[in-house]
């Protein structure tokens, strides 16, 4: 019975090929765009998640304000408010895993005749732990390097590629502002950060060396940034409170006075970036779903036309013994077949489009079995939902009225 009906539905679809194809096109575009948009959305989510995982977890960044004179903010002539001593004090707080003062800036790196400008990060050994940054060859510098301001450096992959090409950077000497630095370690690859900057285009050196030889700050002992890692996500609120209180006390800020530093919660920033891409992904899917809806309405429209055109056929079928449910099933099956066939074509085109997008723009795409399944289910659902009304109209026809039609 079902096989006979499938055959008939196939026949009916073939009888008006142009119309069937155009009706299907609505579904093709709908499903195709859902699949494509979901692939792009999930790709974006994936790459953000990837980025977040390279950032290090449970991180805060403390950013210096500038010193004030007599309670007034000086225009910018002042030095940073945070100090290495602040960092050391924070390290004593409960729930703090790693603290690293940071002084960074863009500098020209010179190796032989090669020039390359990269972000130079002056910091202390805990920095690598906080960022969960691996050394792929060589060794990291230690506390003694910071104490004696040695000229050693860890180089990121991008900077290494541009300065050394195929050469092994380990043991080579580069120059920053005429000072020679020996490369003692090569950093693992991290890719872009949330702002889209290449984290591997970097050189990490001891904080003291950076301050004395590279940036030449007049405010020895003070730093622009302090990176703080909490032991766990649960510890973060307590760490945030403790840090703020500690710094206010150390900076002798009176009640009611503003903080002279900024606190940035990277974990929260990561969450909001993830949330943003998730919303974008849902939005893309929703917009694409509208075209699926339009495709469904197209099916309903054509099925209604088809029922009207075939009223006499329905009458004949009823006269030779078709029950209402036979007629209902016949037209429903036709609608579902159109939408499922359109869905299959749409899937192929959507996946093809996603692969092409990746090929042409390098955008990360993710085609999950889930999204394919959802598209398929929705298409079948659309067929049933939008096919039901026309099919019901067909089934509810009075046999004699239908036979008299035309």
């Amino acid at each position: 019975m079902l096989k006979a009906m499938l055959g008939e539905a196939w026949h009916a679809m073939g009888a008006n090929r142009m119309r069937t194809v155009l009706t299907m096109l609505g579904m093709v575009i709908g499903v195709g765009s859902v699949v494509l948009m979901m692939a792009i959305g999930q790709g974006a989510q994936y790459s953000v998640a990837q980025t977040i995982s390279t950032m290090g977890s449970n991180l805060y960044i403390l950013i210096s304000g500038t010193t004030t004179a007599g309670g007034l903010r000086s225009g910018g002539g002042g030095g940073p408010t945070l100090t290495v001593a602040d960092a050391e004090a924070i390290a004593e707080l409960d729930g703090v895993a790693n603290v690293a003062p940071v002084h960074q800036g863009t500098q020209q790196l010179v190796y032989g005749s090669n020039n390359w400008s990269a972000t130079v990060v002056g910091t202390t050994p805990p920095y690598l732990d906080a960022r969960a940054w691996q050394i792929v060859s060589g060794y990291p510098f230690g506390d003694s390097d910071v104490r004696s301001a040695t000229r050693v450096a860890l180089i990121g992959q991008t900077a290494a590629d541009n300065l050394f090409g195929a050469e092994d950077p380990l043991g080579k000497t580069i120059r920053i502002r005429q000072s020679p630095f020996v490369i003692i370690g090569v950093l693992g690859k991290k890719g872009q950060n949330l702002d889209g900057r290449d984290q591997d285009d970097t050189l990490i050196i001891p904080l003291t060396t950076a301050q004395r030889k590279v940036f030449g700050t007049p405010f020895a002992g003070s730093v622009r940034l302090i990176m703080v890692q909490a032991t766990s996500a649960e510890a973060m609120p307590a760490v945030e409170k403790g840090m703020t209180a500690l710094l206010r006390q150390r900076h002798r800020l009176r009640e009611g006075q503003d903080n002279d530093f900024y606190l940035r919660n990277l974990a929260a920033a990561a969450d909001s970036a993830a949330e943003t891409t998730r919303v974008m992904s849902v939005l893309l899917g929703a917009i694409a779903s509208v075209s699926l809806l339009v495709g469904g309405i197209g099916i309903m429209n054509i099925m209604l036309v088809s029922v009207t055109e075939r009223t006499r056929e329905i009458g004949i079928r009823m006269a030779i013994g078709a029950r209402q449910k036979d007629i209902l099933a016949q037209f429903l099956l036709e609608a579902v077949m159109i939408s499922v066939a359109g869905c299959l074509i749409g899937l192929v085109l959507g996946i093809g489009g996603a692969l092409l997008t990746n090929l042409l723009s390098g955008m990360v795409i993710v085609i999950s079995g889930g999204s394919v399944l959802v598209a398929f289910g929705v298409a079948a659902g659309v067929g049933v939902f939008f096919g039901y009304y026309p099919a019901h109209r067909a089934a509810a026809l009075d046999p004699i009225e239908a036979l008299r039609h035309q």
Binding site: M1, H11, A319, K325, P399, I400
Partner: protein
């Protein structure tokens, strides 16, 4: 006396028209026994088709009762009526009413689909019936490829495919030339000899002559109900 295959009592049917209800049937009483061959006659507009549509359970009466094989049609549900149309009745229309996009075999097999037969059984039955009406070589043809007389034979094959007890035919020869009409009528006469009850509408005397009983309608009422006078039947078919 066996239970009549058709028994109607006080059967009436009014159509709603712009000018108000129009009584197309105005109280018809009739009994037809199993195995009869009845011609329904009468001028155009006398209510013959209306009556046939009621007998075929395609339409519902405005008043009166209709018992088909002893069952009160008014008390049957839609699915039961569909089953009666499928299994008990074979309907033959003036305009053939084949489905144009289906092969002859598929057309003939369609009632078997609704009866729930498997594909192989459907094919075998459909071929058998097509052979019986002399179209065994045309199973894969489309209706548009054959003549009117052949189309009506296919329609008869379709009516026969579920082995009905009753064939209802509303002017089955109305669109056919007289030679073809005789062939179709000979086919009906043969089916009747095999025991199938046949009720057919015609307003031609020589067609009605094939039947053994002639019921005449006028203005929605039966005006005469007589055995066929000169049995042309014997001369035409033997």
């Amino acid at each position: 006396m066996p239970e009549a295959i058709i028994r109607v009592a006080g059967l009436g049917k009014s159509y709603l028209t712009a000018a108000g209800p129009f009584p197309a049937l105005r109280g018809v009483d009739l009994e037809i026994e199993a195995g009869e061959f009845v011609a329904i006659m009468g001028p155009s507009g006398s209510g013959k088709s209306t009556f046939m549509n009621l007998l075929g359970c395609l339409d519902t009466p405005s008043s009166g009762d209709y018992f088909l094989v002893g069952r009160n049609a008014a008390q049957l549900g839609k699915d039961e009526l569909a089953a009666l149309r499928n299994l008990t009745i074979g309907f033959v229309f003036q305009g053939f009413n084949l489905l144009p996009r289906m092969t002859l075999e598929d057309n003939v097999a369609l009632p078997l689909v609704y009866a729930g037969f498997e594909r192989e059984a459907r094919r075998a039955r459909a071929r058998l019936e097509l052979g019986r009406v002399g179209l065994g070589d045309y199973t894969a043809s489309l209706p548009s490829r054959i003549s009117g007389g052949q189309q009506q034979r296919v329609a008869i094959a379709r009516a026969l495919v579920n082995s009905p007890r009753l064939i209802l035919a509303d002017e089955p020869t109305g669109n056919l030339d007289s030679h073809t009409s005789d062939e179709i009528m000979a086919l009906f006469a043969e089916l009747n000899r095999e025991g199938i009850t046949i009720v057919l509408v015609t307003h031609e005397a020589d067609i009605a002559a094939y039947a053994r009983r002639q019921v005449r309608f006028r203005d929605g009422l039966i005006v005469s109900d007589l055995p066929t006078p000169a049995p042309a039947l014997a001369a035409a078919t033997c």
